[in-house]
């Protein structure tokens, strides 16, 4: 990683810092201020998009820790979101617990579900683990439908509007703030988790599990930790999603969402916190773009063309990134930053 001219690291703390200079601090603070000022000048529609984006970012952070850092591929993330979401929904709707208690409980429940379905990861990896997580997705959804008396089964469950203290989070602006607070916290936490001992162990396992084990990294413990943390994130995201709709239904957690969370990670760049954000934002923007182009394309060609556009564009974007830029948008972003950092004495980074 290159540093800006004139920035020096003289001790360990400086080297480990997230922000290396006052400028970076300034940019980060300015960005957060901008984010929280959004409701002042954006329409309800943009706020809605940003809110769903925020929820996706939280979820992808979890997947990034599990898949991007620890190398345990999961295509069942939406299933774990469902566990978190439903737990929190049931606690709120059936037991009348306040939202701020139910959400952590939902997160915990998702984490425990993650531990359970993470158990096979001790024995298997790669494709087999993917299959186990796909199975997890379907088993979770099926179980939710079976537990009709608690979950409302296929009819779903109506959830009261979340409230913190006396503030009822019913308006879009309120909820936008809630989600953004969680997104910022989740990002900060994710960035820090990967800098801890556990985070370094995750990377060691991803890069070479055999070597990691030999060096004394307990695969057993750290793989399960990764599953737990990843799924806690999913639980928070799922809970936020369900309270946003104030309705819990298994339709909100389809299998294809699990696939697209992984797609977001690939587009953004695996194993990078910024990458997770980039990926979630990029694919959500693509979604919006497809929605807007749809009617135009339909008028020009045929409705089927508009319908297939969503599927084909998503598939193509994944293939293009995998073939041409497997390190994702995050890598591109680093190149752009390096270009400006070294300007005017720039040189093309050789891949």
């Amino acid at each position: 990683m290159g540093l800006r001219t004139g920035t020096f690291h003289e001790n360990y703390a400086q080297d480990m810092a997230i922000f290396h200079s006052g400028l970076q601090w300034g940019i980060a603070v300015a960005f957060i201020i901008f984010l929280f000022a959004c409701p002042l000048f954006f329409s309800d529609r943009i706020l809605t998009i940003l809110t769903t984006m925020g929820i996706a970012v939280i979820s992808v952070h979890g997947l990034n820790i599990l898949t991007g850092y620890c190398g345990q591929i999961s295509i069942g993330h939406a299933g774990f979101m469902a566990v978190g979401g439903y737990t929190s929904a049931i606690l709120c709707a059936k037991l009348g617990w306040p939202f701020w208690v139910a959400l952590p409980c939902g997160a915990l429940a998702a984490g425990i579900a993650g531990l359970f379905f993470g158990l096979p990861s001790l024995k298997i990896k790669g494709f087999y683990l993917i299959m186990a997580t796909i199975a997890a997705q379907f088993i979770i959804i099926w179980t939710i439908i079976q537990l009709r008396s608690i979950t409302g089964g296929a009819d779903g469950l109506s959830v009261p509007k979340p409230a913190i203290g006396s503030i009822i989070l019913s308006s879009k602006t309120n909820y936008f703030y809630l989600v953004m607070v969680f997104t910022c916290l989740a990002t900060l936490l994710a960035k820090n988790i990967v800098r801890t001992r556990a985070g370094r162990a995750f990377i060691a396992i991803r890069d070479n599990d055999l070597a990691a084990e030999v060096m004394g990294v307990s695969l057993w413990s750290y793989k399960l930790q990764a599953f737990f943390i990843g799924c806690v994130y999913a639980g928070v995201a799922g809970s936020l999603l369900i309270h946003y709709f104030s309705f819990a239904s298994t339709d909100q957690f389809p299998f294809m969402d699990s696939v697209w969370y992984l797609g977001m990670l690939i587009v953004g760049g695996m194993g990078s916190t910024t990458g997770a954000i980039f990926g979630a934002v990029a694919l959500k923007l693509l979604d919006e773009l497809v929605t807007m182009v749809g009617p135009i394309l339909s008028a020009a060609v045929a409705p089927q063309a508009a319908a297939s556009l969503a599927l084909i564009s998503h598939g193509l974007i994944i293939i293009i990134f995998l073939i041409f830029e497997p390190r994702g948008l995050h890598h591109r972003w680093e190149i752009i930053k390096a270009y400006f950092r070294l300007w005017p004495f720039s040189h093309q980074e050789i891949e």
């Binding site: 309800d44 009819d155 779903g156 339709d251 749809g294 041409f324």
Partner: protein, 418 residues
């Protein structure tokens, strides 16, 4: 290589920004929007595409002639143009939310719902904003409590109740008839498993046996499920299925010798969207005995004024590219309801001041006996708390490869209104 990548990324970025900055067209003329969210991707894709085509055609018709239908005298205000505005939500609830906000911000006064997942995501928002919406989905969730989504065919439980009524009316034997559910294994199919439905069936003199599930789209004939029904001596099987589910099921029934005209007598009934006309067209005489409640009339039934209207619209606006899907009729109904609500609201509130709430209160709630040229079972009537437009349900049966009306029964309102 690097250049190509850059160009690709740059063009993507430009496209994205362009999409966001596209100006909302300045409204010089008086324009009202109809349409709404569509699900062109996913299991309801073909239905949604036909509905969309119909809405487009109907709007062209109203704009050109200012008539509302050949059988109606009322005129649409001459200075106002209708425009179709729609987005594809791919049946994803989060997408439907942002689409809803976008359409609302662009000044849309009526909404549309394209499937159960969308209904669950939007119904509370619509109610909060007091916006009326037409809906292609008819699950019981609409009735607890009834809000601002209006259906134009009866909800599934009421449809099945009418089949049960019809079957009971024709029941000759002394013993109690046995009824079972044979239903699709998804949210739509399971939405009939409510205690009220079972209670109603038992009240009118049925013995309830149990439930069997068939995948929404089976990949093998449901031999097991049908054998089970036969073993239990079931006389009437009820369920919610779409055609890809009901066709293989009935085919297998015939092969196993189960059916109203077969050695083992059992009748199988489903509500719309398992439309009898579509079923008959695909199955021919193989499908004899299949019962469907609340289905639309066949698209070639030109003696019905509504169907004639559909056909004329297609001749005029899409020559050579006719939509043969039966949900075209549903689209005409949806467009009629939306346009009628707008027209009624404009009688009370001037165009400039029109809000979604006005359209709901002075529009949707005031629709009484809207003639649909017999596309729907009865003329449509809505009101506060009354979201099922029809009052009676037509029951069709496939006989000799044709869909034949065998009875008409009142809507029972099975699902208790809370």
């Amino acid at each position: 290589m690097v250049k190509i990548k850059w160009m690709f990324l740059a063009s993507l970025a430009i496209l994205l920004t362009a999409a966001f900055l596209l100006p909302v067209s300045a409204q010089a003329e008086k324009k009202l929007y109809v349409g709404g969210t569509q699900s062109l991707t996913g299991p309801f894709a073909e239905d949604s595409a036909a509905v969309l085509a119909a809405i487009e055609d109907y709007v062209k018709y109203v704009n050109e002639t200012k008539n509302l239908a050949p059988w109606r005298q009322e005129k649409f205000p001459a200075d106002i143009t209708l425009e179709v505005m729609w987005r594809d939500d791919e049946l994803k609830p989060p997408k439907a939310l942002s689409i809803y906000e976008e359409l609302k911000a662009k000044g849309m006064l009526v909404g549309r719902i394209s499937g159960s997942p969308i209904a669950l995501a939007l119904k509370d928002r619509l109610w909060e904003d007091q916006m009326g919406a037409t809906s292609m989905a008819t699950g019981p969730y609409y009735l607890s409590p009834p809000q601002s989504c209006f259906t134009y065919y009866p909800i599934y439980t009421d449809s099945l109740a009418s089949i049960a009524d019809w079957f009971k009316a024709n029941w000759k034997e002394a013993r109690k008839p046995k009824v079972a559910y044979l239903t699709a294994d998804n949210a739509m199919g399971r939405s009939i498993e409510i205690p009220e439905m079972k209670a109603y069936l038992q009240k009118i003199g049925y013995e309830f046996v149990g439930t069997q599930y068939v995948p929404l789209v089976p990949t093998s004939p449901p031999t097991t499920q049908l054998t089970w029904l036969k073993q239990k001596g079931v006389d009437l099987a009820l369920g919610v299925m779409i055609n890809p589910g009901s066709q293989p099921t009935v085919k297998e029934m015939v092969r196993l010798g189960i059916g109203p005209n077969q050695p083992y007598k059992m009748t199988f009934g489903v509500p719309a969207p398992g439309h009898a006309a579509v079923f008959a067209a695909a199955m021919g005489e193989l499908g004899d005995g299949y019962v469907c409640a609340g289905s639309f009339r066949p698209m070639d039934d030109l003696a019905t004024p509504g169907i004639k209207f559909c056909s004329d619209l297609q001749d005029k606006y899409r020559p050579g590219k006719r939509v043969t899907h039966i949900m075209y009729e549903a689209g005409i109904l949806e467009a009629m309801i939306q346009v009628e609500a707008l027209r009624l609201a404009m009688k009370k509130v001037p165009f400039e001041k029109l809000t979604p709430r006005d359209v709901l209160v002075h529009g949707f709630y005031q629709i009484k006996n809207l003639p649909t040229g017999d596309i729907s079972s009865t003329p449509l009537t809505y009101g506060k708390g009354d979201i099922e437009g029809v009052d009676e349900i037509r029951i069709d049966q496939v006989q000799k490869g044709k869909s034949v009306t065998v009875g008409i029964f009142p809507v029972r309102h099975i699902f208790t209104k809370k």
